[in-house]
Amino acid sequence: MIVEPILTRAVGVEGGHLLSSYLERGGYQGLKKALSMTPDSIIDEVKRSGLRGRGGAGFPCGLKWSFVPKDHPKPKYVVCNADEGEPGTFKDKVILECDPHMLLEGMAIACLSIGAEAGYIYVRGEFVRAIKILEKAVREARRDGYLGRNVMGSGKKIDIFVHSGAGAYICGEETGLLESLAGHRGHPRLKPPFPAVVGAFDSPTILNNVETLACVPHIITRGADWFTSIGPNPKNTGTKLFAVSGHVRKPGVYELPMGYNLKDLIEKVCGGIPDGRSIKAVIPGGSSAPPLKPEEIDVSLDFDTLAAMGTMLGSGAVIVVDDSVCMVKLTQRITRFYAHESCGQCSPCREGTHWLDLIMKRIEEGNGREGDLELILDICQGMMGTTICVLSDACAMPVKAFVEKYRDEFEAHISRGRCPMRGTHG
């Protein structure tokens, strides 16, 4: 059921990131077509395609665009979230480095759909190479009239700017990103109002992930019906990039239809687990997704199926963990990350992530106490759904799930005062 590459066409193509190569692949035909369409018909097409946000939440893209008010006195903006920072996620980087024009075209079409004249790509600061490639792509597109004052001779004005972040995970949260883009501290905002009404520079804004926007030119060129035909589940359409890491023979980014089977992805596509070991856990959607146990991995990789299992597709970052790994140590790595990345404005997150990290560290070091696990679960309870953004949930959800699903390992740590797997993992 592996389809033709759509988002990864340019991978491995010599000079694939250049405008000339993109044009050879039929580039900017979507923009040309969109220029002849009305804004409403563009949004309708995207709505019909069933495209859902690839950043993690899976919100219907066309619906999000339709929330932008039409008669608003302020200018409108399109912002691309290229602050790919979730541990385990490295799929947007592929698009940014291999096919940047696909993203620019998607953003230009998004601009047309709401009447925006400017777009911003907020790129993670560590993506130095991607930033260089993007900036070159923007220059090329401006030079050849795909961006600028007269887009493809239509008289319309669309410009796109590349903005580099400074490495904070929280700036990947949409409103944190908008604050950071405007030059403020990356503190997520209270919602409502949502970015569709009060977004970049307090103006109506479309904010999408790189992969979401990269799908748009294909939807416009080949039609919504073609897009919905990909994948077995009508509510989860199109292809999805999966960033597979951990204990598999062939880790990497794979483009597969939505709803592809997780077990097949690990065993067939990625070549299975090396060294004759077996799977202990699979994190299906980046570090904030609760893990799946080996008996749970025969599932379809789509938003709804995974949500029903209490985890999430997230950004499609599949982390495979084999039986050589200590779950306590793994959980502590997660808490350390979130304690370090919490922006600090909400009390439950600022204090909770750090508290969890301290307890996890204590257990990992062999100083766990009876009652620690109940305390962890209760702290997680207080952190879920109680803060402005979901970073707090993103820490509490996996921690809670790891403790619940691998409780015996945590208990062994506490009762023995050391890691029962000591000597078997590095």
């Binding site: 209270l190 922006c343 204090e351 204590r362 309870q381 109680t386």
Partner: protein, 502 residues
């Protein structure tokens, strides 16, 4: 008005209110730390989360406006559980050094903790400390102890939104996040001490007040700040007859919730003074003798001139006008003082006293020089910022009989034939018309010093001694004789908000 249900009660509240204010208006308390009615809503502390029917997640009451038909639970099991968890989060790294903390007794964290008796903390790890930020002066008036901070960001928002100077900022991130000044520059805007007022804990305290008094030992009375023509609402806090501090009180028309550092820290003169009984020729005399002497002087045909200050109330001015032939007011120019009102407009005053406009409304002219034919002079110097200087006293005509109202053994008291220790601003009742023509009624804050008498009281006795009719000594009776305020009574000025047409 909007109708909604709160904790099972059908209530009606003003449109546009957030849930905290709506609940407050019907007598339900929702706890909060980061919310402040004068500042932008940020919803960070999460203690005000409430349950709203139809919304799965708990919602921040500060950031949720009331809607018709809303069903809100501010105190059900789910909300209480969450609150106790947020309290636990806030307390795990709080030093709990209440016994040595200046904020104790007026600390939101302490109050809320006491009111809801949270169980023992389950936190057993080391508490966070900020060695560099735990005992330092961050400006001329504000002292910081970062260990106590609960990161509510009120102080940051005050500097950005009200002062407009933005000295404070968050630095670092997450559990390491601290409040710091930009580039280490001091917090020295003209309202800097307000950051300590609005700090819900003892992280920012007023340096000048540090370790001086425990808040529960102070008596707090509503008053106005007399140090410029704005007349900001204050709480005047005192102990054993001595003024200890000014705190801002709310008055949306003038100062909203704020007070400038100048007004706040200029009260020292209220605790000064060393004359507590009338004096004649340098010797103490009983009040009756001194007043009899004065009444005799005034009954004869001598021209009497009173020179007063903008610290006199409208009632005192009105009474003096019936006693003296001419009443003049000493100029008291001040530096520009500004305060932001609820609308965000600057209220500006260039006068040093609270009642310059009151004198104008009563038709009292400005003092330039003593009239040549003045035989009896009534001079008041119970004023701020300074008593009369040697030079000013020398300009008093040498043949005039001088009655001085003063508590200060200075040049004027030495020159005066009779010295009357009157009442100071905070010891007397009266009305004051501010520079924006807002009339405010002020009650005495403290018991006047023993042996002293107010102008209304001894002035009425002088009038009686002269055989004239007197409406006093009750302040309100005199107030009702003032033409400019015709038709008003004190009951009309309960919230000190009456605006007099200019």
């Amino acid at each position: 008005m909007v109708k909604l249900t709160m904790d099972g009660r059908d209530v009606e509240v003003r449109e546009g209110l957030n849930l905290i204010e709506a609940a407050r208006s019907v007598g339900i308390e929702i706890p909060y730390f980061c919310y402040h009615p004068g500042l932008r809503v940020v919803g960070q502390c999460r203690i005000c989360l409430v349950e709203i029917e139809g919304i799965p997640k708990l919602q921040a009451a500060c950031a949720t406006p009331v809607r018709e038909g809303m069903v809100v639970f501010t105190d059900n099991d789910r909300v209480r559980k969450l609150r106790s968890q947020v309290m636990e989060f806030l307390l795990i790294n709080h030093p709990l050094d209440c016994p040595i903390c200046d904020q104790a007794g007026e600390c939101d964290l302490q109050d809320f903790c006491e009111a809801h008796s949270f169980p023992k903390s389950r936190y057993t790890e080391a508490k966070r400390v900020n060695p560099k930020l735990e005992r330092r002066k961050i400006g001329p008036h504000v002292f910081q102890n970062m260990n106590r901070c609960i990161h509510c960001s009120r102080c940051i928002r005050f500097c950005e939104e009200i002062a407009g100077t933005g000295e404070l900022t968050f630095a670092e991130r997450g559990y390491k996040m601290v409040i710091d000044t930009h580039d280490g520059r001091p917090l020295e805007n003209p309202w800097s001490a307000c950051t300590a007022d609005i700090c819900p804990v003892g992280a920012l305290t007023v340096y000048d007040f540090r370790f001086h008094e425990r808040s529960w030992n102070l008596t707090s009375t509503p008053s106005i700040c007399p140090h410029c023509g704005n007349g900001c609402a204050i709480r005047l806090e005192h102990r054993s007859g001595s003024v200890k501090r000014f705190l801002p009180a709310a008055n949306p028309l003038i100062n909203h919730h704020w007070l400038c550092d100048f007004g706040r820290f200029s009260y020292d003169w209220m605790n000064g003074g060393d004359i507590f009984e009338p004096m004649q020729g340098g010797e103490p005399v009983p009040w009756t003798d001194a007043l009899k002497e004065i009444a005799g002087k005034l009954s004869s045909d001598n021209r009497t001139v009173a020179v007063i200050t903008p610290f006199q109330s409208c009632e005192e001015m009105a009474l003096l006008k019936t006693i003296a032939d001419t009443v003049m007011i000493r100029r008291a120019p001040g530096e520009e003082r500004k305060i932001k009102n609820e609308q965000g407009h600057w209220m500006v005053s260039h006068n040093a006293g609270p009642n310059t406009q009151g004198a104008a409304a009563l038709g009292i002219s400005l003092f330039d020089a003593y009239p040549a034919d003045a035989r009896v002079l009534f001079l008041s110097e119970n004023l701020f910022p300074a008593p009369l200087t040697e030079e000013e006293v020398r300009s008093i005509p040498s043949d005039a009989f001088v009655i001085a109202e003063t508590r200060h053994r200075g040049p004027l008291a030495k020159r005066a034939d009779i010295v009357l220790p009157g009442h100071l601003f905070h010891e007397k009742e009266g009305t004051y018309l501010n520079d924006h023509r807002i009339l405010q009624h002020v009650r005495p804050s403290i018991q006047p010093a023993a042996g002293t008498r107010g102008l209304l009281s001894y002035g009425s006795e002088i009038l009686a001694g002269m055989g004239k009719e007197c409406p006093g000594p009750a302040a309100e009776a005199i107030f009702q004789t003032i033409e400019a305020f015709q038709g008003l009574t004190y009951a009309d000025l309960p919230s000190r908000l009456e605006k007099i047409r200019g």
